[in-house]
Amino acid sequence: MGRIDAIRIASGMGAIVAWILIWAWLTRPGGPVPTLYFPAPDDVWTKFVRMWVRPYIGSTLIEHILSSLYIVLFGWTVAAVVGIPLGIAMAWWTKLKWIVFPIFQLIRPVPPLAWIPLTILWLGIGDTARMSVVFIAALVPWLMNSMLAVYSVDKLLIDAGKALGASDRQILMRIVCRTALPTLVAGARMALGSAWSTLVAAEILAATAGLGYVAVNASQLLDTDVLLVAMFLIGILGISLTALITIAQRFLAPWSFADVRGTNR
């Protein structure tokens, strides 16, 4: 496995280097692509380094990054605190589902971005407005996956628990919630993806800092190199957050990664 992984990583790096070389060739002085529309890689890199110390539209790069991360993680966490228990409860107590699910079904098809005008009206363009939009964006996948996670638990395991003398509460806490964990983590990943993309859009419409805010300003000021820096960071941070969740799953549910050795099943 180790060797195959090493080969895969090496070839991945090679491909990235190749793409950057093609990019550099296309944007060379006198090349086919004018740098106003697509700056050369070294220009983008220089800008990236400079933005850490020199503020751009009011904040340094790290401040923009932290602003975005702060809002997305806050909204995502609050959505988890609400969505997980509510989703599990809805799957466990059907009556609660009857009450909550109709409203939820109505809200669900509304894209999170469509909430922005309303939140601007209520909350202005401060952090709270963006947090609220992110919250809504993350709540739907959190809640849906928590519900599905409970439904996905084999009824046989519940029977086994009953036969071993577990009460309903013990079955819920020890069997259902634990067994459902991998599906919950999948929900965490989807919620974070949804929250992140919504945040960037929200920052374009209503913000005073953040990577989306940098991107829209750079576009208006024709700072194409800054725009590319912002876009790269949005992508890289998105990947990193997802990777963190996978690492968390290794700690929370190591069994979901365990090798399947048995063949006679």
Binding site: D159, L164, R174, R178, W255, R261
Partner: protein
């Protein structure tokens, strides 16, 4: 015949009395079990055989208290059995191990649910691990184990409760032939040593003849009790391995008789 259960005066350990089970509404749905009565005496090993879909698993689920009968009742020592619990341990065909728990956590699960002290848990756990040959697998997760090992864990998890009654629902049905043979012999040995009271559902006539003190043959759906066959208990061929037993004339005779009864139901004669 030797070992034939005499007309017993003691109340049965487990009694299923006039069980009828409808899935869906009565009369319009499916009748899985129709007026079945079945008794298991203390220390007795009763096997239920019948064609697929005859309701034998339903009968076990009802016996365990996991499903309520439409009519009839379940009694333990002549008292209504009530909700499922550790006096009636269940081993399922599909193992039903908790995937998020290690072998030792799975085995200890029922002990923790019923408030057994930590020291007692540990000693019973190591006893079961030894009996079932699982000592090297304490920390393994179920999906790291072969099917045979998983079913060993499930049996250990049931036995560690020291149940009064053991209900087994085609426990070897999902295993390969070699593993099945080994486990059949182990269950035979365990029963002989510890005198468990067992209700054992199977579709294998050989398994029933080898393990059972009594074999109950069911009709096709809606399942009724077709015939009960008493088997000898303290005979030499039951103490050895199943391959040897299968060559014994008495075994062959019983297998022929029971298979004849089951076949009638399958071909619909």
């Amino acid at each position: 015949m030797t070992g034939q259960t005499p007309a017993n005066t003691a109340p049965p350990k487990l009694e299923l009395r006039k069980i009828t089970k409808w899935f869906g509404s009565e009369g319009a749905g499916v009748c899985a079990v129709d007026d079945c009565s079945l008794e298991v005496q203390k220390g007795e090993f009763v096997c239920v055989v019948g064609p697929s879909g005859c309701g034998k698993s339903t009968l076990m689920t009802i016996g365990a208290g996991l499903e309520a009968p439409t009519e009839g009742g379940v009694f333990v020592d002549s008292r209504p059995a009530g909700p499922p619990g550790p006096t009636r341990s269940v081993v399922f065909q599909k193992f039903a191990l908790f995937p998020s728990e290690t072998v030792e956590q799975n085995i200890k699960f029922g002990l923790q649910m019923t408030g057994v002290s930590a020291r007692e848990q540990e000693s019973r756990l190591s006893e079961q691990l030894r009996i079932m040959g699982l000592e090297g697998f304490r920390k393994a997760y179920p999906n790291e184990l072969s099917g045979g090992m998983q079913q060993r864990v499930a049996i250990a998890r049931a036995l560690v409760m020291r149940p009064e009654i053991l209900l087994m629902d085609e426990p070897f049905g999902a295993l390969d032939a070699q593993t099945r043979t080994i486990l059949q012999e182990e269950v035979q040995r365990l029963h002989r040593e510890k005198h468990y009271t067992v209700l054992f559902i199977t579709h294998s006539v050989e398994e029933a003849v080898y393990l059972g003190d009594r074999v109950v043959v069911m009709t096709k759906r809606p399942g009724q009790i077709k015939k009960v066959i008493h088997l000898p208990r303290d005979v030499v061929w039951k103490t050895g391995d199943i391959e040897r037993a299968a060559e014994h004339p008495e075994f062959i005779e019983f297998r022929r008789e029971i298979w004849g009864l089951v076949r009638e139901e399958i071909v619909g004669a």
